[in-house]
Amino acid sequence: MSPADPIPPDGAAASSPADGAVAASPVVLPEAEGRRGSGLALLGSEVVVLFRRVRTIALLSALALIPILLAVAVRVTTDDAGSGGRGPAFLGDITQNGLFVSLTALTVAIPLFLPLTVGVVAGDTIAGEASLGTLRYLLVTPVGRVRLLLVKYAGAALFCLVGTLVVVVVGAIAGAALFPVGPVTLLSGQTIGLGDYAGRMLLMALYVTISLLGLSAIGLFASTLTSVPVGAMAATIVLSTVAQIVDALPQLDFLDPWLFTHYWLGFADLLRDPISWSNFADNALLQAGYIAVFGALALGRFTTKDVLS
């Protein structure tokens, strides 16, 4: 009795019974061709709808402001205040090398700003469609509930990557514009050139993107529970904050390895030579676990849900 849309083997769809009163369908292309194209068409449409939306652009602009504000603030105050003192990691190094702006901005964005934007996007996935009423039209199209969840999650994951890249790339541009740029000294002491450093920054962006995938899965699940997108967004953002607080409490240390936020700031290992991959691997495994659990919960919930909005 579930309205789920299991994916039948190929060719099953072609066997719809012919009947007398079928309207002529001159524009329909051969089955296989039509199907191959449209599988990706929905994903493409999702990406276009997501990234052309004013809200998404505003979120990305806010993320872009972080490295810009950071670089400008350091540049303006650099004459009277010396390096060091209070501030996020790498802040003092910016004046020597503008390339550190990206790194500092990422460190600033990870605990709050990135989860905030990801929470908005992931919490909106299903609940946003439900509140607009477009969910019922997507489902009768029929998009298929499993496919819709996958496409929605892919969109949220892409937003994680784009959001992170915005911080990194805008940071590099702002840093290069306001500060001297030169070879970068790694945490392990060696010095690497710009090309090598760019590669490592991309690796860090990948690390941070992967870090946010678990949160996206939580947001997707929360989004299947309600037709009020703000509720799902708030729940997702609150969860990311709670996880970070629990991570910081020494009394709850035993929970730490299981928190999706535990490895969020562990990307500095990518600035060693040789690169220490242990955090990368542990983080990826942990996030995969969260994706599996919350993805399954979202599937279970969404495929049996009565769509009444």
């Binding site: 309205p3 769809a13 019974p17 007398g20 292309l29 449409s45 004013v54 607009l132 199209t141 029929p142």
Partner: protein
Amino acid sequence: MSDAAEAGPDADLAVQTVGLGKTFGRQQAVADLDLAVPRGSVYGFLGPNGSGKTTTIRMLLGLTSSTSGSIRVLGGAMPDRARDVLPRVGALVEGPAFYPFLSGRANLMRLDSGDRRAPGGTRKARVAAALDRVGLGHAADKKAHAYSLGMKQRLGIANALLMPRDLLVLDEPSNGLDPQGTREVRGLIRSLADDGTTVLVSSHLLAEVEQMCTHIGVMSAGRLLTQGTLGDLRALGTHRVRLLTPDPDLARDVLVRLGLAPGDSGSAGPAPSEGAHVEADLTVEGLAPEAIVAALVAADVRVRGFEVSGASLEDRFVDLTGEGFDVAG
């Protein structure tokens, strides 16, 4: 009523439900519903607000699960065969819904891209054709939030027409449309029906249903009270004779002798010089109106006017659904 329950799956039916029921918590929204929508028909699905029409439509389209009974749409069991059935169904459910930040055209492109059977190569052309068909060609590139309710309604209908469909399910398609738009929608539905498309249209605009539907089902409080062809339903109603005569008392005596129960003359009486109205329900089977006139004349009643009116569909619905029905002016 229908004998669908005994007949089992029927190839001539575009939509068939057997014993369909849905409960929300303790509330029974739909109960024991045996819907039978013949292929090629324009089926008017009527009922007061909250009678379960939209819940039924949601179950037909696989949006909501049923708590009991079975559904077949275009020969396929729902919701199990949704993948095969739904591409052949165009739907407007509980009002149109769109992304307000996208243009009308972009909205249709978006929804069409979700349909695996809709070829991407013809998408632009099909979207443009659907927009033209509902008269939105000139407003296609306006953002949907700038659309009036009537334009949104048209866009919703355009969405149902993106692909050739075997069945259209239209929930209150005339909502928010001006009289001109209502006429256009009626014409559109008729032209689609002429092409062989089955149309299931829910409405509370009785006059409109009377004008475009071939079949009618009436719901109230979650139950199907009656269904059948428009003619069947009209025939169920009692006819009424109305007589204009200067001899009302004599006329009443004649009518009583024929087995009728004449009431008082209508409230809006004619001028006294014209005579009075005498009305009676035609409750005696086999009694032809002309026989009444003959009897009246034979009894020297001066008959100045005589008319037989069929009960309007509206009367039938008020009879069936009782008070509180949202009747169109």
